[in-house]
Amino acid sequence: MTHPTENGPAKMPEPAVSPDTWLAEHGDCLYRTALLRVRNPDIAADLVQDALLAALRTTEKFAGRSSVRTWLLGILKHKICDHFRKLGRETNFTDLAFFQDEQNDRFDDQNFWDGDECGPRAWNTGGDETLTRTEFLTALHACLGKLPERVSAVFLMREMDDEPCTTICETLGVSASNLWVMLHRARMALRHCLESTYFSPAPSPQK
């Protein structure tokens, strides 16, 4: 909405207050991000709506420092945090099996990687290009989906949002020591999943 001011010609507000445009251009991206975090399609759609409504109310605070998408994603991130805070300190007992899996069969009896068959393999990453390749990101989505929900929430808050550990502990109601265990197991499981489903390299050459 623009209107002439007494100071001269009307200035376009930054960004243009057009939620229809936001929904058209950024709706899919916001939805995908929310779905990755909360897994439930209805909750994800609600979070997108909440974020867009919040954006409507705060356009005057958008200083044009970043793109519209980055700005909307930032608002969505806060809505996702609020969502997790409301869930409270639930203990999901199905997570315990995941925590017990330290992949012990891949270590020898002195806790070293048990040879080329069991140790991390060389990944043919093809440089930075790998990280943006759709097949890779699809595989990453799939592997993230295999993590227990609570572990995934912790992991993504750390690795995707780069939230400090103290914030994650407070928001999700986990202790610092549990947080480290969850992050460690998530990284271990994710690495193994991507290796076996995507990278699947040839056996490593002799050292």
Binding site: D20, Y31, L35, A45, D108, Q110, P120, W123, L156, W180
Partner: protein
């Protein structure tokens, strides 16, 4: 692997484990190093282990790559994943209109 080779390897592992952690410890410590500053002696011992162990070097590099990849997912540039379902899109559009958007 011959019995002699595995005895040598076993001895190396015992020394390495005492000096510079087992690989199991290293996987846990590599993860922790991403989130906090570990004590200096711990970091020195980890460096010794990495000098010798290609698998742990790979592990460290690979979890760093995953961090970059997840960060990429959060940047909103990726197209991977499902689109907003049409009925949800319409519901949101209507709610945005009702709240004063145009």
């Amino acid at each position: 692997m011959s019995a002699k080779t595995s005895r040598i390897q076993s001895a190396i592992h015992r020394v390495l484990g005492w000096l510079a952690f087992s690989c199991h410890d290293m996987s846990r410590l590599s993860s922790q190093a991403a989130d906090t500053t570990l004590p200096r002696l711990t970091r020195v011992r980890m460096s010794v282990h990495w000098l010798i162990c290609k698998w742990c070097r790979r592990y460290r590099a690979q979890i760093a790559l995953l961090r970059g990849a997840c960060s990429q997912l959060g940047s909103g540039t990726s197209e991977a994943g499902p689109a907003l379902p049409p009925e949800a899109r319409e519901r949101i559009r209507k709610n945005l209109c009702d709240h004063g958007g145009h």
